[in-house]
Symmetry: C2
Subunit: 640 residues, 2 copies
Amino acid sequence: MTPLPTVPLSAVPLSAVTITDEFWAPRREVVRTRTIPQQYRQLAEAGHLDALRLDWKPGDDKEPHIFWESDVAKWIEAASNTLVHHPDPHLDAALDQVIGLVAGAQGDDGYLNVHFTVVKPGLRFTDLRDAHELYCLGHLVEAAVAHHRATGKTSLLDIVLGYLELVRREFGEGGVAAHGYDGHEEIELALVKLFDLTGDRTHLDLAAQFVNDRGTKPFFFEDEARRRGDDGFFARYFPRRPEEAERHRQYSQSHLPVREQDEAVGHSVRAMYLYSAMADLAARLGDDGLRAACERLWTSVVDRKMYVTGGIGADASIEGFRGDHELPNDASYNETCASIGLVMWAWRMGLLTGEGRYGDVAELALHNTVLAGASSDGTHYFYGNPMQSDGEHARQEWFGVACCPPNYARLLTSLESYAFATGGDEVVVTLFIGGEVRVDLDEGPVRLSVETRYPWEGQVRVRVEDAARFTLAVRVPAWANGATATVNGERIDVDALVDRGYLRVHRDWAAGDELVLELPLVAERLWADPAVSADTGLVAVRRGPLVLCAEMRGDEPAAGSLVLGRDALFTDGWDDELDVAVVEATAMADHWPEDADGLYRVTGPDQVAIQVRLVPYFAWGNRGPSSMRVWLREGPSSRA
Amino acid sequence: MTPLPTVPLSAVPLSAVTITDEFWAPRREVVRTRTIPQQYRQLAEAGHLDALRLDWKPGDDKEPHIFWESDVAKWIEAASNTLVHHPDPHLDAALDQVIGLVAGAQGDDGYLNVHFTVVKPGLRFTDLRDAHELYCLGHLVEAAVAHHRATGKTSLLDIVLGYLELVRREFGEGGVAAHGYDGHEEIELALVKLFDLTGDRTHLDLAAQFVNDRGTKPFFFEDEARRRGDDGFFARYFPRRPEEAERHRQYSQSHLPVREQDEAVGHSVRAMYLYSAMADLAARLGDDGLRAACERLWTSVVDRKMYVTGGIGADASIEGFRGDHELPNDASYNETCASIGLVMWAWRMGLLTGEGRYGDVAELALHNTVLAGASSDGTHYFYGNPMQSDGEHARQEWFGVACCPPNYARLLTSLESYAFATGGDEVVVTLFIGGEVRVDLDEGPVRLSVETRYPWEGQVRVRVEDAARFTLAVRVPAWANGATATVNGERIDVDALVDRGYLRVHRDWAAGDELVLELPLVAERLWADPAVSADTGLVAVRRGPLVLCAEMRGDEPAAGSLVLGRDALFTDGWDDELDVAVVEATAMADHWPEDADGLYRVTGPDQVAIQVRLVPYFAWGNRGPSSMRVWLREGPSSRA
């Protein structure tokens, strides 16, 4: 056995990776050339940008909303990310102009929130549970870090540093919001990013303060409401909140100190952002209590509350988690942002632990519910990612609450960081994305290049470009039974060399050495734990990281009427229209005799065999109205 | 062909019918001896009775709720009904005492509503949309009619007649609520009952006024809210009502003039009570516009929005209808009161049209979702009647909103009226209930006696006890393919004699003549219209009027895991514990191999054959926690 790596691992900056992958590069180019410009137009039209001029007056339309800054910030972050590899003077100038607007909205004391400046002056930091002020600041901080890393400029960084000085005072002893924290987590992980950039420990301390104060008694949000004398910004959306206090504490994960939390509850995006910050702090502070809580919460999500697609947050009424195994298919909310958050958290858990199982989940969510978040042309979005649709679900150009589209953009434009990591003498390949990475090991820089047709094909070819002694760690997904590998053409023993989810090969690598991993990409059936009563009698199909779905259109039988026989064989295929790999199979479909009528009838359907083409979940909904099912009815046979 | 009867038909009073039926008589005896006393205790404990003393003060507990009078009134109605055939001095005295409390709560001007007297004085008739004042009055009127018919007393009748004088003024031109009507329909049908009792046309006119004003522009409820300056009693339950005006007009069926309504929408109990009043008025006024609207709305409910059990109102968030064919099984609300309302409306449609198809639906709802409303011991109740349960659904002793239990009691205690009707020279047998009925035809009184073991067996034996020339009309349910009949032992041609759902035999009947109808009571499969996507791949089992369900307990496989083969044979049986007829069949059940684990796994279940016993829907939930399904997965075969 090779020695275990020193954990935690470190992330690799965007600039150290060049993605040339034939699956991802075109999709990222769509984001850069279509999504980011379209989102700028949408933000401008919706009023987000003009709002920063602070000239809104009561009675005007387009009242600045409490979380508008976050949408702008995520756009800045995504746009900045693209500049790392694609210098673009026009986009650079557009960023300067938007950041200029942000600067203009900042008060002399550093405060920066348009809603509380022009709509509710005098009420800043009095409704932390609902009003998203620090959430907005968190996104501005993430944007500032990305903008600085991409351009070297400090324009946005200076803004957020000024604001943070005010925040540190107001949330410190004697401040207006002492012991407070935000209802929507985000600032915490952003402060860790700022610490990573600046090395300024006060940012890490403030993140830890927010995380540690959360959920302690007396409950801050309830005290705050009493002081304020009303039930807050969301009172009308949550009329029963006063009676349902515990449920609403859970909504914002403030029901228990975070170290005592065992079950993922409440709003799923909030949960993911909190858990991400907890993993960040556990790694940077060596905090075993936070790490243990993260590991328990991970089990709660991944073993009991996650859809097979990597979607989380089934309950639309709270955009959040239901109980264990409560995963209904006809009411599966699965916000795109929640799956993005799951990727963010999984990535951090992988860095914290060095374990590949986190990468498995990051990959699952990324390739399915995240990628489904935008249309193939990059300009229409899913807010929810249902497990089934009977034609009612379609991507939209924008949303009144527009969190998901720019979140999608910033994730796709920062994919570099999610693919690779490094720690000790180890170079870690977590996602299989063609391109080049350069990492700095103790003994010097090492470059790797990756070639693959993943996720369509299972071969991943990693070439070492610089001679060095190090451990090359390549994730072997848990689903990849029978994976094989060679080094310079010679077979190595994968089973013996896989340690905690990574194939780890330690040796003196010469320039030109190649490790080739062969993952068996075959379509296979998945069944759910029978505790998931919604999936009883149903079967899903996965091919590698991609979950497939039946998408039926026009005169085809409804997807819900298909029955996949246990004996049905799968054939790999390609769909030219969608430009994706598909799986073909014979299924049975209901066929109704002519004389059957009435709402309830004594004549049932016959079954006829039809060929169906299962498409990757991420690709559904790109060809007009359709019926779609991830989980298909299962029968003993697909033969008539 | 015999001549068609003159419609509308007339109802038969409770006193004209004696029920001795072996299915119904014991169930009605449970209501009389257990349910009614238990409900009295519950009303006393909850504070409904003490509230009538008007001594509640702000700060006291048990704040009188806006619809408490309606619960008391329904109890009075049910208790009064039992006195018709079971004189009971103690119950009579208890009724006098409760009515005395009601009398004490009435103001000098006739007004009677505890909530608006002690909680919100000065605000009477200002929140008709939400505050249920006329709904409560309607139930008091129905109770007064029942009490008077049972006892001859006028104590409650005098109370409501006094209140109605005030209502007539306040809802007339110049009154505080001119052009107003109640958000929860009920007063309308109650006023028709009062007209039927008293012959006083002003009651019928007021009912017509409320029905005709409903849904006209300007929308009364919105004007009323503007005048009041707030969004009403339910504002906190419906925070989005101002933005969702049309949906909330539909909630109370006030979105369109009633004659223009085509689709059953909104709160389903409200809808049923409105449609009942529309049918009443159509019959009494010969109003073809109302009749046509009723027939369109009937089609909307029965052909597109009704569960196979007769349950209606799938959407828990509004206790009401979803869209056409939107009949999800895992979110099937189906309030007991809504099915009671469906029986009430169906009965009135039958009287209005003389058609048997309405009786078919009354019978369906009565034998399934209504009868399920109470436990076999008569003291625990279902508010909702779901199509499936995984152990979470159980009857309760009482509810904060206690509309269903006393509604169940008043329906069961007035079953006499639903069974028979008369019109012209016709005596109509709609429900098959053993007992005696006496009707007055033009040429004199006629008595019939009915013997049957329905719904367990299909023979219905109707004996004429008095010689007379008349048409005996006995409903032949639409499901009864192959029904046969004899008169005095001689076969008659059912197909030729069935006209609009009734077997109509016109002749000189002699005392002792017998018409025997043989309905083929066989278990058969039902499938739903494929437009009901929730039922795709599923099958239900019906035996005559009873819909069956799988109820699995203890270590048995979950009901949702059962697969009923298309080739499975049904065997009639009897369950001694439940004392009901059952249907037995071989089904397949999922059996998981030991090595299958994980939330999602690559090993699926095998199937094993098991014997299952399907029980009547009404009888489920009487033996502790269970899993239950009405719709079962269907497979090609039940053979291993």
